[in-house]
């Protein structure tokens, strides 16, 4: 059960660019991607929260994921840059249009609030500048208990060497605090040449101090938890998934199918 996901592809109005971006992501092996709409919280002026563009208007045909023979799944995600507690409105109707909800806190107080009380799925960690606060154990543990994930974007590390240092420093600090758990690694770029494959990211996450298993979880099962958490958020108490197990139609006697093919070829 490891479908790879990239939950941060920034939205661009340029359709052609978005198409190549989705094609690259599918070619690299990502089964699910989320188009990210960024919203900067403002107390004055009341900037409107953007409405997600319906997928049918963006792309005509979804590309096929490499090695899966299934089209890529595209979700919508909203990220709110919170610099004041009032910027995040609980249960706002605008949030309902999105599959995933994320916040990017700018101060320690807001980080604490985001971990403990905000009803979100992802907390973004700033990677383009020095972190203005230290990670404390209490909010991190609180977030883990509530199933909120922390997100690290790696695109800035490819772009610039100074930002690479900040990415490494901030992520190392985070991994040190929560022992590599509850972290998802996503791209956060709208350029196809800055996207990297899931195994590249797994390897890169080992550089952040995560173990191999934690690193792989960061692009696969933790992302799945985010999606499930997001669905739970919309309902009153929870969701249940049932999967029909395929019936074993193979004949019980005789060697397994794979072995039979080998001998029959000779």
């Amino acid at each position: 059960m490891s479908l790879f996901m990239d939950l941060n592809l920034p939205f661009t109005a340029d359709k052609k660019r978005l198409k190549t971006l989705l094609e690259t992501a599918a070619h690299l092996g990502f089964s699910t991607v989320a188009i990210n709409y960024f919203h900067e919280g403002q107390s004055k002026g009341k900037k409107e929260i953007p409405k997600p563009t319906p997928l049918a208007q963006l792309v005509d045909e979804l590309p096929i994921v490499q090695g899966k023979s299934r089209p890529i799944k595209v979700l919508n995600r909203l990220t709110i840059l919170v610099s004041d507690a009032s910027h995040f409105r609980h249960n706002a109707a605008e949030y309902r249009a999105y599959d995933i909800l994320a916040v990017q806190p700018t101060t320690e107080k807001l980080f604490h609030a985001a971990c403990m009380t905000f009803d979100v799925d992802i907390i973004c960690i700033t990677v383009t500048e020095r972190l203005p606060f230290f990670f404390k154990r209490a909010p991190i543990n609180g977030a883990r208990e509530r199933g909120v994930m922390f997100e690290v974007c790696y695109a800035a590390a490819i772009r610039d060497s100074t930002m690479r240092r900040y990415t490494l420093t901030n992520t190392l600090a985070l991994v040190e605090r929560n022992k590599g758990k509850n972290i998802i690694v996503s791209s956060g770029t709208d350029k196809p040449l800055e996207l990297r494959g899931p195994y590249d990211i797994t390897n890169l996450a080992q550089l952040f101090g995560m173990s191999e298993v934690e690193a792989k979880d960061g692009v696969s099962s933790n992302c799945r938890s985010v999606l499930l958490h997001a669905e739970t958020r919309k309902t009153a108490c929870g969701i249940i998934y049932t999967v029909k197990t395929p019936n074993d139609s193979q004949p019980k006697d005789g060697p397994p199918l794979a072995k039979k093919q080998k001998t029959s070829a000779s």
Partner: protein, 123 residues
Amino acid sequence: MQPAVFERVVVKNSPVYQYMKVSLVLEQAQTKLTAVELKHLITTGLKSLYGEVGAAFPFDLLTFEEDTLTAVLRVYSRGLVRLWSSITLLGFFQQQRCAFRVLQVSPYLLALTGNSRDLALDS
């Protein structure tokens, strides 16, 4: 006809080398580069991420196809994570954007001749 006999070989020691098959994707597809330039590019990447000690790390460029920009690298197993992360974070080649796509990684060079993920098993 005798059925094929299979022999099972178990290698207990950790492999000395790891082989990587990588391809370089450039923004301007018509750009040509030689094997020397490619190795220099990778070394620059190692140096920018790991410094002098990292740049001194031994790795070999075994083959390089200039028309497809595909190369096979050989590296000591211990340095795989370092080499891989440095080529992951390479983003520029002579002021134009580039990206390395790691196609296959294996401890056996023979495994790079074919990709099991491209096989059509159900046909």
